[in-house]
């Protein structure tokens, strides 16, 4: 080996060791800052909502929260029909999710739905009712107990010439109460899917003299009766709710939907 080569090798080792210590510094900084992030009060709400602290307390019992854009809440820019606002929640890349809570800070009833994905994907889509412009959020709880919160603002001042509820006929809803229609899709390029619709008025109880009347719980069970996922739903879920969830097609055979509303009416249907 010539002298110059030895020198070169030496300087490479030096560089590596300085890189290592640099890493340590960065790592420790990161640890400190993430601890701070979890504990600092108050958190800066990326949606800048006046009632973030309130919903943090009411919905998430002031538990540890991080704002995380891997929790994606998709709502339209404008709620054309405030009785039927589509929302979807996708959680990607945070590991196993134990529960997802959906809520709208400024809605008269803030809770929309709690989803326990269990053995299916942390994805759910459906429609809900909104009273006015509000943040719509999903909080996804990981195994360490931390809530990862994502969300979007929904603008609900419009209405336009499209208000469809004006012409909606009142049919004999009592006859179809609790009826379920569903379809399953095995899909090559996307996760396999289940969509189901339940006939139910989903009354909020906010209209004078009209008691609340809504589905409280829904469970998806496999053919052996084992729980795959469950949902706690609240009054803001739209009339005749329509859900989309993703699960592996091997679970399709004999999958059952059960549930119950606040008046004790039961839902029980084998899905196909």
């Amino acid at each position: 080996m010539t002298n110059s080569k030895i020198l070169k090798k030496h300087s490479v080792i030096k560089q590596i060791s300085s890189l290592k210590s640099g890493f340590k510094i960065i790592l420790s900084f990161w640890l400190i800052s993430s601890v701070n992030l979890a504990n600092s009060q108050p958190l800066v709400d990326p949606l800048d909502s006046p009632s973030w602290n309130l919903v943090h307390k009411l919905i998430l019992s002031n538990e540890t929260v991080v704002f995380d854009d891997r929790v994606k809440v998709i709502v339209p820019d404008m709620a054309e029909d405030p009785m039927n606002v589509p929302v979807s929640v996708t959680v990607d890349g945070i590991g196993e999710i134990e529960e997802i809570r959906l809520f709208a800070d400024l809605n008269p009833i803030k809770e929309i739905l709690n989803f326990h994905p269990g053995k299916i994907e942390p994805f759910i889509a459906f429609r809900f009712k909104v009273q006015n412009s509000t943040p719509v959020r999903a909080a996804a709880r990981t195994k360490d107990g931390v809530w990862h919160v994502g969300g979007s603002w929904l603008d609900a001042t419009g209405g336009g010439c499209t208000a469809p509820s004006l012409g909606r006929a009142l049919d004999n809803w009592v006859d179809t109460l609790g009826d379920v229609k569903s379809r399953l899709w095995s899909r090559a390029d996307r996760p396999d899917r289940l969509r189901f619709r339940i006939m139910h008025p989903m009354d909020t109880g906010l209209a004078p003299g009209i008691p609340e009347f809504y589905i409280e719980t829904l469970e998806l069970k496999d053919k052996h009766g084992e729980l795959l996922a469950h949902i706690e739903s609240y009054q803001p879920v739209s009339e005749n709710p329509f859900f989309s969830v993703d699960l592996e097609s091997k679970l399709f055979q004999g999958i059952v939907l059960t549930g119950r509303d606040n008046n004790g009416n039961l839902i029980n249907q084998v899905l196909q």
Partner: protein, 328 residues
């Protein structure tokens, strides 16, 4: 399930209250914006200028955007035919103010009085100026009259929210005369009333055989994304095929510039059939509405104004009813 019949009536009352609450809040909104903006009342000028279409026909071309406080709801085309007996008006715009200004413009430029008004369909951007023509026979098809009778005030309320002060004093005023399909002669013009549907449950096109001008109403949109809020797309496509058979010299679309060829017809047809197929496919593939809302739109539609906005509005409107059919 053990549900008493009482719930059925609860439900009806409930729906009634929801509607009433909804209407009341619209009214409150309308009134509050009215108070704030009252100072600007003198500025509520649509600055209407009609452009000639061949000889003796004129059109006020509206914006190709959606309703806004900036455009005051002036987003549709209203037209008129100057005859030897007086003027025939086709559609009256989005507000009482619009109707009044339109009428003043026509009367001062032609020196003639208005002898007839037609409404092509019940959408608020086309008929809410009727109030300015109360002394003139306002004619339309029975289906359109019915739709204005039943939905007119609600649509008017919605526009108060969307465009605010421009709507002041506007009320839904229904046509006073029912016409049937076929030819009539007015002021020496042979006018053909064509009853179609698809954009709404009842759409009227008017073909002036004397001048070769076709007034298509909202059955044709030109360089503007078709609005499908009240649409039956299959019927609409059939109606376009009917209109394509006419040997017109000029085509006045409901929205967008005047044309002399088939371009606007093909454009509207292309978008609607694409929309229909796309949403059918989306349903077939199990997409939720929130996923259908995010589908990519083909490059060839980039000439259509407010494409993304109107597409989303269309999905929100059409997809739920398509789902009901698909799942029944």
């Amino acid at each position: 399930m053990n549900i008493s019949n009482n719930l059925s009536s609860f439900r009806q009352i409930h729906t009634y209250y929801i509607r009433r609450l909804f209407k009341t809040s619209l009214l409150v909104l309308a009134l509050s914006s009215f108070n704030v903006q009252l100072i600007n009342a003198s500025e509520l000028d649509y600055k209407l200028v009609a452009e000639p279409v061949g000889k003796g026909t004129y059109v006020f071309i509206g914006s190709t955007k959606y309703f806004s406080k900036q455009n005051g709801g002036n987003i549709a085309n209203a037209a008129y035919i100057v005859t030897n007996r007086g003027v025939i008006v086709i559609d009256t715009g989005s507000s009482y103010q619009y109707g009044k200004q339109m009428r003043a413009y026509i009367e001062s430029t032609t020196g003639l009085s208005i002898i007839k008004v037609f409404n092509t369909h019940h959408h608020p951007d086309h008929f809410l100026g009727n109030q300015a023509f109360k002394d003139v026979p306002i004619a339309s098809l029975q289906g359109i009259v019915n739709a204005i009778d039943s939905q007119g005030e609600a649509l008017n309320g919605n526009l108060y929210t969307l465009v605010g002060d421009w709507m002041k004093e506007t009320e839904a005023y229904s046509p006073t005369e029912v016409v049937t399909p076929g030819k009539v002669t007015i002021g020496g013009h042979e006018i053909e009333i064509i009853a179609l549907d698809g954009h709404t449950d009842s759409d009227m096109a008017i073909y002036d055989h004397t001048t070769g001008v076709l007034f298509a109403g909202d059955l044709i949109f030109h360089d503007r994304t078709p609005a499908v809020a009240s649409a039956n797309i299959q019927n609409w496509l059939n109606s376009i095929s009917q209109l394509q058979k006419l040997d017109y010299k000029y085509l006045i679309a409901g929205h967008g510039p005047v044309t002399t060829d088939q371009h606007a017809m093909l454009q509207t047809h292309d978008y609607l059939s694409w929309l229909h197929d796309t949403l059918e496919n989306a349903l077939d593939e199990g997409l939720d509405i929130s996923e259908a809302l995010q589908l990519e739109l083909p490059e060839r539609f980039s000439a259509l104004d407010i494409l993304h906005e109107e597409y989303k509005r269309g999905v929100l409107q059409l997809y739920p009813s398509m789902e009901q059919a698909f799942f029944n």
